[in-house]
Amino acid sequence: MDTLPAASGGAAEPLTPAQLRELYSLMVAVRHLDTSAIAWQRQGIIPGYAPEIGQEAAQVGSGYAVDTTRDFVFPTYREMGVARTMGIDMVAYMSTHKATWHGGLYDPLESRLAPIQAVVAGSVLHAVGWAHGQTLDGKDGVAMTYFGDGASSQGDVHEALNFAAVMKAPVVFFVQNNGWAISVPTERQVAGGSVAARAAGYGMPALQIDGDDVVAVVEATRRAFAHARSGRGPVLIEAMTYRRGPHSTSDDPGRYRSLDEERDGAGLDPLQRFRQRLLADGVADEAFFAGALAAAKAEEEQIRTGIQALGSRPGTEMFDLVFQETTPALQAQAANWREESEHV
């Protein structure tokens, strides 16, 4: 499906070989960090993790289209690949999975990535508000908000689509339809079968794309950004992909899908696909792939070391970060806590 007017100017330049290689490097880094994080959980380094294995093309490709000097991105709990692509400090990002701080330790304002969001569909409306702020300020930033096939069932998504379309807010709604919401498959979640098909009902253009083709994802996202940036309103992208791993490290997919179903549903691995393509097109060779993997490994090691070195945040932050202007009652509670926990 493609209901986005073709004339979106400026977004049509093809990716250069260097960019294609960069995309591959990012995907390898993300894949390696992702599989490592599952291992970290098994090793007790972190208490839990929500892998995005299989969604690297969708995440790296969309994140690649972001201009961090002016855009703003609203992730869920599963956008590690987007964060990495946007250049977020990955120790600060992964700290949420270490149970250090819910939103992560990175600075959302500087990095242009909103705090990690654990409420399904929780931040979709925030993107609309932020984007409307751009209109009010006469700026040209675009908000991109991520959500899943499962999240599409939430009332807030509808309200966000309608608000954005009524206000012509510069928002890109990026849906990763990964086939599952924990144990519930898309066909029992999304009536009609496609989230992209919903956009027409709001008079909003939409693209349903192969979310496992990183080049297609970059191109579609760039087109959507160009459309939104030029003041023509929001766009919805539905990237068809597959959650190849468990929902999270405490999930047991064997209870609701067979390995056969998994293989059939997942199709070709997006990373392998891209690798074949780069090879076939002569854009990269085995030496490059080996180098990318080595870099990914080195990076993972550094992040792991950083995570392991990460101490707990001081308990006073519980009190100090509630408000900009604290209250006497809260200060009293903090004093009481300090006294009783120092005593111990």
Binding site: L125, G129, G133, D137, F163, E325, T327
Partner: protein, 347 residues
């Protein structure tokens, strides 16, 4: 709901001290000034724009400040509050309205999980200077869901501040104060008092020099403290007048801030009067009266001569107009509560 008086009074210049106006006018004037003073403030919600709100609190503001600053949204409260979060992240100070108390419920998820937590979640980098106006409480014979008291819910949510004015003067100053804070404030307007007039001294929030965040003694007394907020303050003042005829000297404390609660003011008053009754419209169980009573008991255990009484709405859904006078604490029920406290004898 004629607004002719109002229209001549929405200018930003200060009138003489002690101008008489209704709470609706005082709120409208506060919003007008806030819009003029801070270009980042925005007012929006259902019917806030052209109509000026179903209670006319935003009357004339769209015409004066433009459709970008004051606008109507689609009919979706979660959308309104969720959008506020994004606007706050973008540096704005949203002043959204939910049309009636009962229609805050569809937005509770955004209020509790997002507005109240974003500053914390983002480690102080994404403050939420959102002033949510909620026409609140009962007393106007309205349809179902138009007479709710949500203060206990809001006060329990970490990350929110909650305030309710009891008269036009308080309304003007508390709204101006709330709308300049960097934290989210739920501003609960006692809708049954919108059209009551009173003196507003725009130049002096508190001639006595009190803090804008504390409770306020509205009447001094020696025998018993009545604690109330919103529309119940005026009723308690009436009760105090009646009691005075019987020689009972009642102090009336307007709690004003329902979170954080001014525990020191409660203690100071009750240490003097040694007896207290707390009055609210919300249902009894797990209402804010329990918190107030417990704070008083903690602060004045030794001086208290009787357990704190609560005179409140009942544990029943807010009833239809015919029964609302039975539901809302009336003068008689408050007097009975006072009597129970005064006649209490240690067994």
């Amino acid at each position: 709901m004629s607004n002719s008086i109002l229209e001549s009074e929405t200018s930003v210049e200060s009138p003489a001290a002690g101008t008489v106006m209704s709470m609706q006018q005082a709120l409208n004037r506060a919003l007008d000034e806030v819009l003029a003073e801070n270009p980042k403030t925005l007012i929006f919600g259902e019917d806030c724009g052209r109509l000026g709100g179903v209670f006319r609190i935003t009357d004339g503001l769209q015409a004066k400040h433009g459709e970008q600053r004051v606008f109507d949204t689609p009919l979706a409260e979660s959308g309104i509050l969720g959008m506020s979060v994004g606007l706050a992240m973008a540096g704005f100070h949203p002043i959204p309205e939910v049309q009636f108390d009962g229609f805050a419920y569809p937005a509770i998820n955004q209020i509790v999980c997002q507005i109240a937590r974003m500053n914390y979640r983002s480690r102080g980098t994404l403050p939420m200077p959102i002033t949510l106006r909620v026409p609140s409480f009962g007393g106007i014979r309205a349809p179902e869901h138009h007479g709710e008291s949500l203060e206990a819910l809001f006060a329990h949510v970490p990350g929110l501040k909650v305030v309710s004015p009891s008269n036009p003067h308080e309304a003007y100053h508390l709204l101006k104060y709330a709308a300049t804070r960097p934290d989210p404030v739920i501003f609960m307007e006692p809708k049954s008092r919108y059209w009551q007039k009173g003196e507003v001294d725009v130049a002096r929030p508190d001639p006595a020099g009190g803090s804008p965040t504390g409770a306020k003694v509205m009447r001094e007394g020696r025998h018993l403290t009545l604690v109330a907020w919103g529309a119940m303050v005026a009723r308690c003042l009436q009760v105090a007048e009646l009691a005075a005829e019987d020689g009972i000297d009642i102090e009336v404390l307007d709690l004003r801030w329902l979170k954080p609660i001014d525990a020191a003011a409660l203690a100071a008053s009750v240490r003097k009067t040694r007896r207290a009754v707390v009055v609210h419209e919300a249902p009894l169980t797990s209402g804010l009266g329990a918190e107030v009573a417990q704070l008083i008991t903690q602060g004045c255990f030794d001086t208290l001569r009787a357990p704190v009484e609560r005179v409140t709405g009942f544990d029943v859904p807010y009833p239809s107009g015919d029964l609302e006078d039975e539901y809302i604490p009336n003068i008689d029920r408050i007097l009975f509560g006072i009597q129970r406290v005064l006649e209490y004898k240690r067994g």
